[in-house]
């Protein structure tokens, strides 16, 4: 989740906004100030009706069936780009040809957008629990988009996908850990399927939804008609002729899997790869589709490979700790074909796509476009390769913080959304010409700088090997991993909503000053260091990261609260989500570790400072913390339900 702007908005920018008619200012969550004069889109039609637009004034988009922070549509024959401005809480509508920008405020943080074939525009409200549906303006004088309706889904909706026939729409919920299947016509919910933690991107192929996760090294697959969820492991191993082979057989974790795309490797275009004389690929043979998941292959280390200076072991066999990889998944077999990450050379560190955020595919030219946050590039990759992320054909400079991509219907332009710079870049793939469109800037300068630094993955000031803060704390959360550190194994803590008032920082480093703690961490990462201004901006940014929406409390949660209090848990976990600001000797080895905040603890497995417990049930069964050993089974069950509601 990204920070909501509390900064004042320059009046000049407001002139750029074309507001919707009707309603007054919509309240921002948590009582935060909304940009002056920006008003929510008007409910011009029955909010209960999400049905197809009977006589659409505009057609659907570019044929993309997966969502992004950017989606292309069509208005009166002119291509338009819809942009989800999460931090600015607005949807910008950009005329791709003229560059005209019109904006509509949203009552919440729009995360992703998807344009359906009749022109309906869907967006996920990531700080809430709903998707909203808009329709484009019908006449020149109308507001840019008009809200049609909304649908309730589990907390933290993130991505959307529509099936090939348009009959189904799938929505992932990042914090509710669920997939909601909607009817493609009415957008009425058909089913909600539970998923493992941290789901993000979704794609639908042949009646199945495939979902990426930020943790757990897996891809989920759900039959739209029947459910439930199944998992496809996407771990890889290092492949190299050098090094200790036993290490090469160590599983590496998968992370940063935000997006995925379905590709068919058999193109018909002249742009397809040239054939080898005497061994041309057979024509006309059916090839099954594949799923391409841009991600990173991560080596956090283990008890055999510890670190005395930083996080994780040194690079093994030429493969960095966070190595860009794409999992190529065989959907028919529900199996990842990618088993290894190959070392491209022995010392690769610069310009790596370690924060992939979006993918768009040109199906006829074997090209994939991957938005690489952190290095501000779009990598053009060969999607026919076994590891497309290792087959970089081209690099396109992107505006800062690219999170959204869309390929024009004619496949001659790629549109890139630089979320951190509020800029849209339109790149002509034939002439290689570039045109930028500046969007309203709704975030203050200091917050923008802090945000840039948080996501900077190729910045020598922050690390020596290309890691960003967001590498281990995606979206301000955690990667679900336990890293080797000089203090021993340490689980990555969640940051969003957990920092304010919870000093000291670090599991056992006892840092009471957040900028000071960041300075130490940067030094540990091999970074050259940040200026005082940058340090303050970064500290302010991470401290202001908003907590995600709370999950729905289970039926046992109320009883669990009583257990929490009666059994003395609150003596250390002050006010339940706070801390006593002290170190305690816990667990085997009696390490002295900091009391963590329990906010959103249900979605941050594994548990304990060293990640020894995979589940809350396991922690409350085996831990010797406090009075845990004396809990009854009923108390344990209700306590788990309560913790999962925080």
């Amino acid at each position: 989740m990204r920070v909501y702007s509390r900064m004042s908005r320059p009046a000049l920018l407001l002139a750029l906004l074309s507001f919707t008619n009707g309603c007054g200012a919509a309240p921002a969550p948590d009582g935060q100030e909304r940009p002056s004069g920006v008003r929510a889109a008007s409910p011009a039609v029955d909010l209960r009706d999400c049905g197809r637009i009977a006589a659409p004034a505009s057609a659907g988009g570019n044929g993309s069936r997966e969502s992004s922070t950017l989606a292309l549509g069509d208005r009166s024959g002119r291509p338009v780009a819809y942009v989800a401005d999460t931090d600015g809480r607005a949807i910008h509508v950009v005329d791709v040809e003229s560059g005209e920008v019109r904006s509509a405020a949203v009552d919440g943080a729009p995360e992703h957008l998807l344009v359906l074939d009749d022109g309906r525009v869907m967006t996920t409200i990531s700080d809430g629990r709903r998707v909203e549906v808009y329709q484009p303006a019908a006449a020149p004088g109308d507001p840019p988009i008009i809200k049609r309706c909304e649908r309730t889904v589990p907390p933290g909706p993130f991505a959307l996908a529509v099936s090939e026939d348009g009959a189904s729409v799938a929505v992932t919920s990042a914090w509710g850990a669920a997939l909601t299947v909607l009817d493609g016509d009415t957008l009425e919910p058909r089913r909600v399927v539970s998923l493992p933690r941290s789901p993000r991107g979704v794609s639908i192929t042949a009646g199945r939804a495939y979902v990426t996760h930020l943790a757990g090294s897996q891809l989920s697959v759900v039959d739209l008609a029947t459910g439930p969820q199944r998992s496809i492991p996407i771990r890889t191993r290092a492949a190299s002729p050098e090094g200790d082979k036993s290490f090469l057989q160590t599983d590496r974790e998968a992370g940063q899997a935000y997006a995925l795309a379905s590709v068919s490797p058999e193109g018909s275009s002249a742009e397809a790869p040239a054939a080898i004389q005497g061994a041309a690929p057979p024509g006309g043979k059916a090839r099954s589709s594949r799923l391409v998941v841009p991600m990173v292959s991560i080596d956090p280390g283990d008890e055999r490979r510890t670190s005395s200076i930083y996080y994780g072991p040194p690079p093994l066999a030429g493969i960095s700790k966070h190595a860009p990889t794409a999992a190529v998944v065989d959907p028919a077999a529900e199996r990842s074909l990618t088993t290894h990450t190959l070392a491209p050379t022995w010392d690769l560190r610069a310009g790596e796509c370690t924060l992939p955020r979006a993918i768009a595919v040109d199906p006829e030219a074997h090209r994939g476009f991957v938005a690489c946050m952190g290095i501000d590039q779009v990598h053009v990759v060969d999607v026919a390769a076994a590891d497309p992320m290792a087959a970089v054909i081209d690099r396109i400079d992107a505006p800062t913080g690219p999170t959204g991509l869309a390929l024009s219907r004619e496949r001659d332009k790629i549109v890139i959304y630089g979320e951190l710079s509020s800029r849209l870049r339109i790149v002509d793939l034939e002439s290689r010409g570039v045109r930028d469109v500046d969007l309203p800037v709704l975030v203050g300068a200091k917050a923008r700088r802090g945000r840039e630094l948080f996501y900077a993955s190729d910045d020598r000031g922050i690390s020596s090997d290309g890691l960003a803060c967001a590498s281990c704390h995606p979206d301000g959360g955690d990667d679900g991993l336990t890293w080797t550190t000089p203090e021993g194994p340490r689980q990555t803590p969640m940051l969003a909503g957990r920092l304010k008032g919870t000093a000291p920082y670090g599991w056992s480093r006892g840092a009471h000053d957040l900028p000071g703690y960041i300075t130490e961490t940067v030094a540990r990462l091999g970074g050259a260091g940040l200026s005082r201004g940058d340090l303050d901006a970064l500290a302010a940014y991470v401290e202001a990261l908003p907590a995600p929406p709370r999950p729905d409390p289970g039926s046992l949660a109320a009883a669990g609260r009583e257990v929490f209090v009666s059994e003395g848990c609150a003596s250390c976990h002050i006010d339940i989500e706070g801390t006593d600001a002290r170190l305690h000797a816990v667990g085997a080895g009696r390490n002295e570790v900091d009391t963590p905040s329990l906010r959103h603890v249900g979605a941050t497995s594994p548990y304990f400072h060293d990640g020894r417990y995979r589940t809350l049930e396991s922690l409350l069964t085996h831990s010797d913390m406090g009075r845990v050993p004396s809990l009854t089974a009923d108390q344990r069950a209700s306590l788990v339900a309560f913790l999962e509601s925080l």
Binding site: A239, K245, P273, A275, R287, P324, H340, A350, A385
Partner: protein, 329 residues
């Protein structure tokens, strides 16, 4: 983390001598290149990339960037030629013998005109390997050259020797004859005789640089490339083995339904020059286009989704910008 190598470029024709050839300048230093020697990222960028002024301040990491794709070529792996077993009476005439130590290696006599590699697996110690006339490579992990196992009096028995290589005759940019043999190694006279052999006209995946054929003995693709700076192959843990890099680079890719396998061979100018010199011809196709680069990264993928009738394959040629101290042509 690069292999230190001593290559011999004396070619096999009857009696062979060997030693550290001029190609030993490649990769002679087993340390990682320093930051000062590595190319800055900006310098390594391709000319035709879409460039724009950055929006933000940044002090980028000044290290090498990932090789950029020059070309990708699709091929049908099942259309590649398959090794054929040689007639027994033909095979029996072949063999080799070690003639003892020489400067920087061992002299080996080989009965065929091959650019070859020899190996004798030995119990309780590393196998004896000889390359192109017996230059012995070393790596970080195997720093000492192995001695020829000519110690029959003390160690009776006849281990199985294997040798393989490129027939120097009729070697073109588009195809090459590749042969491999195996047979008992007699430790007394220090001699191997062939008892079986295979021969195939390998097809060039990258003209003059990378050749491939199908194995006669397994469902796999065999890649033949010049001596490489770096070879990496993706196989299952059970199959994981170091693709060896000597006078040739050889890598084997399994072709199994529901599986994918990959090998990456990074070759520098000296390796390509070696092949060119032996073949007595140069390849213009990549020499011109690779002029900006210091080497080529050749990645070959075999992909066989379970629902497909047959595997598909792709070779991706990328330009490497940062092989230390070597400029391609």
């Amino acid at each position: 983390m690069r292999a230190e190598r001593v290559l011999c470029i004396a070619f096999l024709s009857g009696l062979l001598g060997c030693g550290a050839g001029p190609s030993s300048v490649v990769g002679a230093t087993p340390t990682q290149p320093s930051a000062a020697r590595a190319m800055p990222a900006a310098e390594a960028s391709s000319r035709d990339e879409v460039r724009a002024a950055p929006d933000r301040e940044r002090s980028s990491i000044a290290e090498a960037v990932r090789p950029r794709v020059i070309e990708s070529r699709a091929f049908d792996p099942l259309a590649l030629p398959r090794e054929a077993r040689l007639e027994a009476d033909t095979v029996r005439r072949d063999g080799w013998a070690s003639l003892g130590a020489a400067t920087n290696g061992y002299k080996v006599w080989l009965g065929r005109d091959l650019l070859a590699e020899l190996e004798v697996p030995l119990e309780a110690r590393a196998p004896f390997r000889a390359y192109a006339g017996a230059a012995v490579p070393s790596t970080h992990h195997r720093p000492l050259p192995e001695t020829p196992p000519c110690d029959g009096a003390r160690f009776p028995g006849r281990p199985v020797a294997r040798w393989a290589g490129i027939d120097r005759r009729d070697w073109t940019e588009s195809a090459v004859w590749f042969e491999r043999y195996e047979g008992p190694f007699d430790r007394g006279p220090c001699r191997a005789k062939a008892w079986s052999g295979f021969r195939v006209r390998a097809t060039a995946l990258v003209p003059g640089v990378l050749y491939a054929f199908r194995s006669a003995t397994s469902d796999s693709l065999v890649l033949v490339a010049p001596p490489a700076e770096w070879v990496s192959a993706a196989e299952t843990p059970e199959e994981l083995q170091a693709p060896h890099v000597g006078t040739l680079s050889l890598a084997t890719l399994p072709m199994k339904r529901g599986r994918m396998s990959s090998a990456l061979v990074v070759v520098g100018a000296t390796g390509i020059d070696l092949f060119d010199a032996v073949r007595s011809s140069r390849v213009d196709t990549f020499a011109t286009r690779a002029a900006d680069y210091r080497g080529l990264a050749l990645r070959t993928d075999v992909i066989w989704p379970a629902a497909d009738e047959a595997p598909s394959a792709l070779v991706v040629v990328s330009g490497v910008t940062h092989l230390p101290d070597v400029q391609l042509r």
